[in-house]
């Protein structure tokens, strides 16, 4: 069960960036650049994250405990990349958001809004 501020988080709609980042990390842990590329792909090119937006969002997700730092891996010379993974709390938030969106779309379907199959 989720109480207090956690419940508050669940009831609030997520921003598009947050939603896609959580969705991206749901499949597997990734580093920042991989997240940005994946978000671009799963949103079919509609959402492109700038570096500053990506890391401002990641910081907020880390602070809220929705994601966590999994590891730091070196990919060749240079500084290692930080790999992030979604937490159980983040997973719950994502599921709640998907359910909320599903409810919205279902309502539209019930009313047979033109253009919605």
């Amino acid at each position: 069960m989720i109480y207090g501020d956690k419940m508050k988080n669940l009831n609030q709609p997520l921003s598009e960036q947050t939603y896609y980042i959580l969705l991206s990390l749901q499949s597997e842990p990734k580093h920042g650049y991989a997240i940005a590329k994946d978000v671009h792909a799963i949103s079919k090119g509609r959402v492109t994250l700038s570096v500053s937006t990506l890391y401002t969002t990641l910081k907020r997700l880390l602070d809220d405990g929705w994601i966590r730092l999994l590891d730091e891996v070196s990919q060749g010379p240079g500084k290692p990349r930080k790999i992030y993974e979604i937490t159980k709390k983040g997973g719950n938030v994502l599921v709640a958001e998907i359910q909320r969106l599903d409810t919205l779309v279902s309502a539209a379907r019930l009313r047979r809004v033109e253009g919605i199959s």
């Binding site: 580093h31 920042g32 650049y33 940005a36 492109t48 700038s50 570096v51 500053s52 937006t53 990506l54 890391y55 401002t56 990641l58 910081k59 907020r60 240079g78 500084k79 990349r81 930080k82």
Partner: protein, 381 residues
């Protein structure tokens, strides 16, 4: 990676310094890595995607920077920081002082100069009766402008002393700021009263001379910092003597050039530039005498940049104000009881206050950046 990419990544790494330390520690290496990869990726797709990438980063950066500061509650800490605090206080006081000074200057012009029976008209008549010559009339014509600058200088000096000095040093601060303000305004101005300068110099030389005089103006403004803070009273004495000799020498020098017909291009320009260089050198000398030898380069930089920068910012600010409350129509003959009199004065005060705000902000931030031990006292407003 090409030179351009290296420069772009370097630029981004510099921008990252704007983030709070805690954020930088955690993310700046990652952000730089990702930025570099994304830039290469965008460039491989062509110039247009690369342009889009750069634009997106440029637009998103300040927005996210502000978000981070707001989320960490650092905005209030920044507002309380020394340079910002000093800058805002100083901007407020200087804004008010300049607004007031603008009113005083205009009052001098509108009341003491323009009416037919004005004091300065009377001085001209008395001078002619006494000496039976019109030589020197241009010097008398210059006096209202000089008086306006002196009064303005006193107001600004008072603001300066109020902000940065304890009461025992107020007189020195006011005198220094008044003299420097007067000199920064009037040395170039006196040449205009003495002759039709643009006519003799031509456009190109006139512009160069204007820039050189801006450097001198700025050096005088910078000198306020050095002389007022100096324990060495000789510098203030020299400045006081300069208050008379600088404009007098400038006037006599111009008269001699005209008398000996040194008016052809480029000789008049060369002669005036020589005097300006000598003047700038003498300002630096006074700064050195004020025991500020290590900071003299800053004086020159301050001098070179500020007078060129401020009028332009001020012009655009005034232009915005004119869009909001209408353009200014400057009537040269406006009786005190005219209904347009006070709206005009109010408008002049706003224009001057904007200039004062900007100047005060820069002066305050400069003081605020000094190490704590060397800070002047700041009066709480």
């Amino acid at each position: 990676m090409t030179g351009m990419f290296r420069l772009l990544v370097k630029l981004y790494s510099v921008l990252l310094n704007l983030y709070p330390t805690s954020f930088r520690k955690e993310f700046d290496a990652q952000m730089l890595l990702d930025f570099s990869d994304m830039a290469i990726d965008a460039k491989s797709k062509g110039w247009f995607p690369f342009f889009l990438f750069c634009t997106r980063e440029l637009v998103d950066f300040p927005v996210n920077l502000l978000k981070v500061y707001l989320e960490e509650g650092l905005v209030f800490r920044v507002l309380r920081s020394q340079p910002v605090n000093y800058g805002l206080r100083s901007a407020m006081v200087f804004g008010m002082a300049f607004g007031l000074a603008g009113l005083i200057s205009q009052w001098v012009v509108l009341q003491l100069v323009i009416p037919d029976n004005s004091i300065f008209g009377w001085i001209q008549v008395a001078y002619f009766d006494l000496f039976q010559t019109e030589h020197g009339f241009d010097f008398i014509n210059w006096l209202p402008s000089a008086l306006g600058s002196i009064l303005t200088g006193i107001v600004i000096g008072t603001a300066f002393a109020f902000l940065f000095a304890d009461r025992t040093k107020w007189a020195g601060y006011i005198l220094t700021a008044m003299l420097c303000w007067f000199l920064h305004q009037e040395i170039f101005g006196i040449w205009f009263y003495a002759t039709n300068l643009p006519f003799y110099l031509g456009t190109k030389h006139f512009i160069v001379l204007s820039y050189a005089s801006s450097i001198l103006s700025g050096a005088f403004l910078g000198l306020i910092f050095y002389v007022s803070k100096s324990e060495n009273r000789i510098s203030l004495r020299l400045l006081s003597i300069g208050g008379i000799t600088y404009p007098l020498v400038a006037y006599i020098y111009m008269k001699l050039l005209l008398k000996f017909l040194i008016i052809e291009t480029p000789w008049m320009f060369n002669a005036l530039m020589i005097l300006l260089v000598v003047y700038i050198g003498s300002v630096i000398l006074i700064a050195v005498i004020s025991n500020s030898i290590r900071r003299v380069p800053w004086l020159v930089i301050f001098g070179a940049v500020l007078p060129l920068l401020l009028p332009r910012i001020s012009y655009w600010s005034s232009y915005l104000v004119s869009l909001l409350i209408g353009p200014i129509n400057f009537p040269y003959e406006l009786p005190l009881d005219s209904p347009e009199y006070w709206p005009l004065m109010f408008r002049i005060a706003i224009d001057n206050a904007i200039y004062g705000l900007l100047l005060g902000l820069i002066i305050g931030v400069m003081f605020g950046l000094l190490p704590k031990g060397r800070l002047p006292q700041v009066t709480t407003v």
